[in-house]
Symmetry: C2
Subunit: 395 residues, 2 copies
């Protein structure tokens, strides 16, 4: 008999995916170049040429039996060591390979991190607006997602609200900075206050509350700002990373968990990840991809287009009278809709061939997300549609 | 606080892994070429040159943004269609892409299949001897593994024992043919009898009992025998496959679940796999690897060395007086130890630089496994050690 739990999930289609399907269908009618598709967070710039070269060299020069052979349970040691070195160089950390576990992207990293520090029945606290997939990730581990309401003026943290939701059953706090969908990058002040709160509550409850920091947009920060590395602020931090955005490799499913050497039981966590993999069925990312990213750790794709697009869109939205926080990073912006019902707002936008995602599924009704990982030319061309939409529907 | 469940698992190290580590350590002392390492099932022949060529061509010719872009939730449609076509051609099935879901190897395939057709608390029936990882795979899905005792004369199925263990809580039966560790390939007669039993019991209990068929060794069959495809015998079958052995790509983590179009609710199962991935955190195998295997579906590595090795080892074991069933496939053989305690037997073998795995963790005490995916020359050289071991310890 098939499992009703998953069959039932088939009803609840992702709003983002549905909108992306609408964009594709509309594109078939009028030409996709005429659909202003701000739905999906799919990188629009190619990976560095060096990544391709490394793959081709590995394929040409390595013995296939070794190149494609099983990774050890804890993933390839040389790759783990290279990632540790890169993080140490960049953020002044003290990782060794024993603190690194390579995963199938950030989804894989979160699946492991959650199971390492929480047991079924416990609570994971996150902050609205949040990536909607956090719900299945957290619930898939038998945990409950508890959501702190958004601080809409700057999308930093509402600490009074966070404190009121933290309790003894809270195993970990899950943050995402820079943030999907708001584009907000947590300031040093926010991270310091969060660390202080978690230390105080850990002491009060007599157990360590972990910080799980999901950082796939770490390398996409704007205005030349310094990257704030959350594990620098709080010892009990598991950093979850994906190369999907920084190297434009979302389909290759490659990321990692980095365990702060100063965290509780730091030496056990990577071996535990190896055990967790046995139960969930993903034993290591692809070996070719592990080896290739290890040679591109301090590189990124040319990410400048995202900042260019952000500046154009932000200025246009302000001109049109939107309430909008200027993103500190990512390729998202999260303005307030022009009516209370963001779903209705986004539905009307479709008449103007604009694909905008309502904020409800991000835990932030009344707002909408634009993913501007698209050509700058298309961004520019979309403004006429945006103006027509606003003028006609919200005169 | 870290999760004690996984921390506790760190104690229970795999016997196979420990033995492999011993082989490596011993190799550092006397040269690895002098350690007769029959511990690990790691393919010893390279992938087809065509696979390497396809990877290099894809990297050279495809747009990186498309090549490395996100796969859809249900994995790449063209790849799924190609796998369906290949299985239809080879086994007379009627799959379409909607019955195929690409996974991270067989481990990923089993993780999805188990969750599709069983809910926490239910029982999965398998047959000794069995691959020890079935236990964490099954328990990781919240299920219980129930093991039918072995039929040691030929390692086919003891149907009386199977029937006595099947009950209303049994959601699925998990088979592995050709079998790790015994090398037995189930005969058409065995598969027909199994199908008849499952149909009768499904009717009796009023729910479909699924067959999960784990087939990573499908392409390694000996003596020119025809491959028996279990889904041909039983409609409610989910076939789990890995290219690890057939294409010698274990590190690339690529396989699939194939849903028999005639099974209960066939149209829901692949979409359910997409939902299951969200909770377990592995969203698709690497896109480059998906695309590359899709062009190599009807190929294999040169697998003939495994049969050569099998014939040599089987003859030598018979000469030395071992009780041993001749393998029908795989790169394993599973003889009876020369004393009741197979662990003690294998421990003594180490004195002769022979790495043999005791059968206890395979659910078959008193036997031992030899993985002969090694050079034929080494197989030949190992016989002096084997003879010395038997002569000295079991005169």
């Amino acid at each position: 008999m098939i499992a009703e739990q998953y069959k039932a999930m088939l009803q609840g289609k992702s709003v983002i995916r549905q909108l992306a399907e609408w964009s594709t269908a509309r594109g078939a009618e009028i030409g996709y170049e005429n659909v202003f598709d701000y739905s999906l967070g799919n990188p629009s710039v190619p990976c560095p040429a060096h990544f391709t070269e490394v793959c081709r060299r590995l394929l040409a020069e390595q013995e296939p039996v070794a190149l494609h052979g099983y990774s050890p349970t804890l993933t390839l040691p040389a790759v783990r060591a290279a990632v540790a070195d890169s993080l140490n160089r960049r953020f002044g950390m003290h990782y060794t390979k024993d603190h690194l576990f390579m995963t199938s992207g950030a989804a894989g990293a979160l699946a492991h991190a959650l199971r390492c520090v929480a047991v079924p029945g416990q609570k994971i606290l996150t902050f609205a607006p949040f990536f909607p997939e956090y719900k299945p990730y957290v619930e898939g581990a038998g945990l409950t997602l508890s959501v702190v309401p958004p601080r809409c003026e700057d999308f930093q943290i509402d600490f009074a609200a966070a404190e009121s939701l933290l309790d003894e059953t809270t195993a970990a706090v899950l943050i995402n900075t820079p943030n999907n969908p708001s584009g907000a990058a947590y300031s040093a002040d926010t991270l310091e206050r969060l660390a202080a709160l978690l230390r105080r509550k850990s002491a009060e409850y007599g157990h360590h509350i972990f910080l799980i920091s999901d950082e796939p947009y770490r390398e996409i920060v704007f205005g030349g700002a310094a990257i704030q590395y959350p594990a620098r602020f709080y010892e009990d931090t598991l950093t979850c990373y994906s190369f999907s955005k920084s190297l434009s490799l979302p389909g290759e499913r490659i990321g990692y968990v980095a365990v702060n050497p100063a965290c509780e039981d730091a030496e056990f966590i990577v071996p535990m990840c190896g055990q967790i993999s046995r139960g969930t069925g993903h034993n290591c990312p692809a070996s070719l991809i592990q080896l290739a990213v290890a040679e591109c750790l301090d590189e990124t794709s040319d990410l400048s287009v995202y900042e260019t697009n952000m500046e154009l869109i932000y200025a246009e939205l302000k001109r049109l009278g939107f309430t909008v926080v200027k993103p500190g990073g990512t390729f998202y912006i999260f303005p307030k809709a022009l009516e209370e019902n963001a779903a209705a707002f986004c539905e009307k936008a479709k008449k103007y061939d604009l694909a905008l995602v309502p904020g409800d599924s991000f835990g932030c009704p009344g707002y909408f997300r634009m993913a501007y990982c698209i050509d700058t030319d298309k961004v520019r061309r979309s403004f006429a549609a945006l103006r027509a939409f606003v003028a006609a529907e919200y005169p």
